[in-house]
Symmetry: D3
Subunit: 169 residues, 6 copies
Amino acid sequence: MRGLFVGRFQPLHNGHAYIIERALSEVDDLIIGIGSAESSHTSSDPLTSGERMDMILKASAVQGIRDRIIPVPIRDVNRYSVWVSHVTSLVPRFDVVYTNNPLTEELFHEAGFEVRGTAMVGREKLSGIHIRKCILKGSPWKDMVPAPVFEYLMGIDILSRLKGAVPDE
Amino acid sequence: MRGLFVGRFQPLHNGHAYIIERALSEVDDLIIGIGSAESSHTSSDPLTSGERMDMILKASAVQGIRDRIIPVPIRDVNRYSVWVSHVTSLVPRFDVVYTNNPLTEELFHEAGFEVRGTAMVGREKLSGIHIRKCILKGSPWKDMVPAPVFEYLMGIDILSRLKGAVPDE
Amino acid sequence: MRGLFVGRFQPLHNGHAYIIERALSEVDDLIIGIGSAESSHTSSDPLTSGERMDMILKASAVQGIRDRIIPVPIRDVNRYSVWVSHVTSLVPRFDVVYTNNPLTEELFHEAGFEVRGTAMVGREKLSGIHIRKCILKGSPWKDMVPAPVFEYLMGIDILSRLKGAVPDE
Amino acid sequence: MRGLFVGRFQPLHNGHAYIIERALSEVDDLIIGIGSAESSHTSSDPLTSGERMDMILKASAVQGIRDRIIPVPIRDVNRYSVWVSHVTSLVPRFDVVYTNNPLTEELFHEAGFEVRGTAMVGREKLSGIHIRKCILKGSPWKDMVPAPVFEYLMGIDILSRLKGAVPDE
Amino acid sequence: MRGLFVGRFQPLHNGHAYIIERALSEVDDLIIGIGSAESSHTSSDPLTSGERMDMILKASAVQGIRDRIIPVPIRDVNRYSVWVSHVTSLVPRFDVVYTNNPLTEELFHEAGFEVRGTAMVGREKLSGIHIRKCILKGSPWKDMVPAPVFEYLMGIDILSRLKGAVPDE
Amino acid sequence: MRGLFVGRFQPLHNGHAYIIERALSEVDDLIIGIGSAESSHTSSDPLTSGERMDMILKASAVQGIRDRIIPVPIRDVNRYSVWVSHVTSLVPRFDVVYTNNPLTEELFHEAGFEVRGTAMVGREKLSGIHIRKCILKGSPWKDMVPAPVFEYLMGIDILSRLKGAVPDE
């Protein structure tokens, strides 16, 4: 049995890690759809798809789940009526969708898929936007992401990337 | 060290399998770029990106290389001057490119990447177009692809897909 | 003589119905351009083009004007300098444009078309955004739309569509 | 009950007229999907979507079926995996598909729609490409299309349009 | 030696003129990249690319630098990871980039180009948005732009263009 | 008075140079529209827009017409019904169109522009395709292009570019 979990992973944080862990207790392997794959260098989407794949691969190697996750970039099509077809044509076959996003739930539900909610833990702090703000302000954020993610983001100088980003938040 | 190998995999055949095997003797892991990812249901591109990922995952599981390959769909941009940026933004960081396609070689070479040729074995027969023709004509093709690929393609009724395809070859 | 009236019809309301009625007192038939045709499932554009066509066809059948209106989906091109060419290439020939939108008026005026203003009646309440808000809040909205539109929207569960929509207003 | 018939109508000819007539003996109304809607001024697609709508409206008025047909422009998306979603989002709800095109049949069949074949009468001659060739060569073609279509095409000087067209056949 | 200076020039004002003058004291000729080239008829981008070229050509003729500047329209690609490749494929070869925009600086810097800052003079007032607001409010703006620009904008009735524009600021 | 001459300039050859010279005897300045601007690295379109601008600027400097020509990249839109609007929005205002291409003539004629034919001299040999073939075969081609063009193309190693190109002719 295979699951699909779509997120933007800007960056991958402990909330995502928790959902992935829980999903992997229910399915054999999990497609990790990297949404807005072609966006990068903006305040809300600083990282490229490739950088997000690198980050996900490093974290999953440490967690020993490298061969159970399937990361796949998914570009926006900005046309919700074809979005489910877009996703299903890009990723391998799956049985169940994990999401807390109302529109994702609505669209997969309309298309007849099983959708499972993903109750976030400490959602407020474990959001990408909160972490990006912490990085910019110099507030501590190390404990909100898996260790390999912190190391990776420091290595590519995430602070300078965010400073040069288009302010779209 | 990581390699990148881009193909269309319509379908994955023993020629591809040989290149992948050889590349994995030189690098730690290998990105398998699935070219023309958004094409499907045509004579030259019958399979969707998702079907090609399924096929690649099944074959690599059997070969025991599932955790050393990274399949990534790469859509066409039809603009070669930005193609290398397109690819590098989508896939994780890599060190060397494997290809025998002259344009791919030219473009990565112009961009300063190391490119390694991939001498095909029995190239004539081990081409996607030859295999697709065999399927349509009812000629034997089982021995040209890895066993899990044959099984997978029979399961999705590849013959009927090819019969309904747009004749673009 | 033929007119063109472009709107988004999210949903078709009595303000639109009044303009259509008035236009049909001046022209033989009226093209109803369904703007932002490829948008759907958002707060400001919940309905697909097809759903909007269904709604318009049902209402016009009841009003007995089914054979005098020509509904045509018009996708956004996000490039105003080619917008008039875009529209004229998609719809049948027409003689006059009905609109109160300043940009539509400016663009058709620059291109040499006759443009007639459409003074709205009770515009404040008879706007799509107001009706969508009423639906979400549970306020009465039945009297703001033609009867077949109300029936149609209830049939497709417009409330649940709006709840799952991307909040872009 | 409603049908969908997709064609390019370059131009509308007696073969199309026959299929429309037959379909209307089975369904209440018929959506006429105008394929490749955004193509024009080429040898295989000389007419714009709007010109094709004009032609279809004129012919249907003469045949007295104006209020039973629903012409809708459908642009190409060049991505067959989302094509059915594309079409269903653009046109009003329908119950059955009329087509003789193998790919259209395959795609709607995969998506679970009822598809009915449309046996052409004298297909060989009643094809758009044959009629366009006749026009260019000066051979007679008047009897291959409905009378209002002939009149319309003469009125817009179809010969000069074809002479200036991009030769893509 | 050749420079590249990218702006939107909505409209060309004395701040731009100052940067161009300074750049031409350092390089032989200067490419003037006209950004968001395909945007027009909005509040923030009222002028088409062609109108902006006309304005730039007129101003440069008066300043006697017509044969040292190379205006080139550059459309948005909305994908920053390929933006530098996009620009370099469109414009002739250049050696140095002039910009004060943080993202432009970041992207060209990541790609290995030399970037020179452009300290604005009286930046606050010499901004496109300020001038567009002055035009709309009827405040004086003649002294903020080169004389040929003022004359050109009056000639195309910039006030009426701005009044009909989509309000996106 | 200003003219517009659209070509692909793959490469700029003596036939183009002759048309430019003749046009400049009739108009004050001439827009040189660089068609298919975003194509490159193929057999029929080997050079990028930027390379073609470089080539045109060098040749025009030698001919002393640098300040009378205005080179502008024009990307394909693959939709002929909006093509004239596309071009007129991108380039500065012009009065007359120079072309021998039947479709360009038809489209500008339909839009009401004055079009002047450009009788080619020795057209057969002075075509881009002929010159590209000569380069690939090692036949002499130096005399078919302006001297600065020959020098420029040798400098960027046009032969190796053509060898790596996608064979689309």
